[in-house]
Symmetry: C2
Subunit: 194 residues, 2 copies
Amino acid sequence: MTEQTNNKERILQCALKLFSKKGYDGTSTMDIVNTAQVTKPTMYHYFGSKEGLLSEILEQNYTALSAKLKEAANLPQDISLTFYRIARVYFDGARENLDFFRFRMGLMLRTGEDAAYLCARKYIEEEYAIIKDFFDNATKQAGNLAGKESLCTITLIGVLNAAVSAYLYLEDEAMLSDETIYKLRQQFLHGIYS
Amino acid sequence: MTEQTNNKERILQCALKLFSKKGYDGTSTMDIVNTAQVTKPTMYHYFGSKEGLLSEILEQNYTALSAKLKEAANLPQDISLTFYRIARVYFDGARENLDFFRFRMGLMLRTGEDAAYLCARKYIEEEYAIIKDFFDNATKQAGNLAGKESLCTITLIGVLNAAVSAYLYLEDEAMLSDETIYKLRQQFLHGIYS
DNA sequence: CAAACTGTATACCGTTCGGTATAATGCAAG
DNA sequence: CTTGCATTATACCGAACGGTATACAGTTTG
């Protein structure tokens, strides 16, 4: 009765889904193995611990996200286009990998010592660093943003996270449309009256 | 050995501090009563359950926050001033009640079924409703925002939350200064280049 | 074919969880 | 001065927690 369609992958997916819905601390290992239809030793064979499982989930998903984000943010000469590309990374990510983005959102604004946040922290910091880098480079070429790089980073990520969060809450795919991005970009670049 | 400086209040404060640091699920009732230097029956006498304790914490703190927010947002004829006033409510709140704002931030972008989020959901929705109301009224008087009320609400809250979150992360009070608010407002109203 | 290794199952570990039965204390009102 | 109530302490509950010892099946390798 071995190998009934890759237990490891199924554990990863079920755990992510449960973490995203009930939180890391709110999800028990029994929850996970029951949902994934494996036994506990199977899970511990692959991941060693509950936290090991969390680490692998974060590593997999954040690695993919960071790569896309870096690619989207490598055109410092065009802030407008880059806004679109970054927004698309987040919005596509949210649509295609709803569970991960739900989980990620719950970790995003944290600052405490909860286990899941501590594991995710380095990835969150990397995300900020990628956007900050972009604005730093954009300033070198444009100049009129000098001194605002940090605040731009905070507000850009804040606005996009808020929009993704609204999508997850409303579950309305219109929230992820190009039209939404255009409106958000217009507002970000030129203010709410524009 | 009765009444050694109000056990109930001390339980509330210690629980909030622990929730903000380790999350609701990550905090045990033993944690709480040990920190507050009471026994479990004392806690259960006052609050009935762990969730009852959470409810009272949320009710107390969100009631105060919502009242301040409503007051700050009752000048629909002046968006610029209102931005300042709303930002001050959040920023002062974060400085004066760090634990609650830390906790609140962790709940803010959630969408799942975790216990703490479900308890807090109605308050979060009320917060959005207050800001949304403001923009709806502002549109009636100004008009040039028509159709953007929802997106303005999302981005305003998103930007301010991101700033508060940056303060909690950096622990730098300069983040909460009037100067920061002016920059954020300028950006919100007139774009990043302005 | 035998040894070794990967993966899975049964059954169980000690600990901690949220919560409570019972009783003693201090204090206010009759 | 005692009855009644609000508050606190001791001691404990069953259930669920994260994690594991042991064994065995299936495959790979010598």
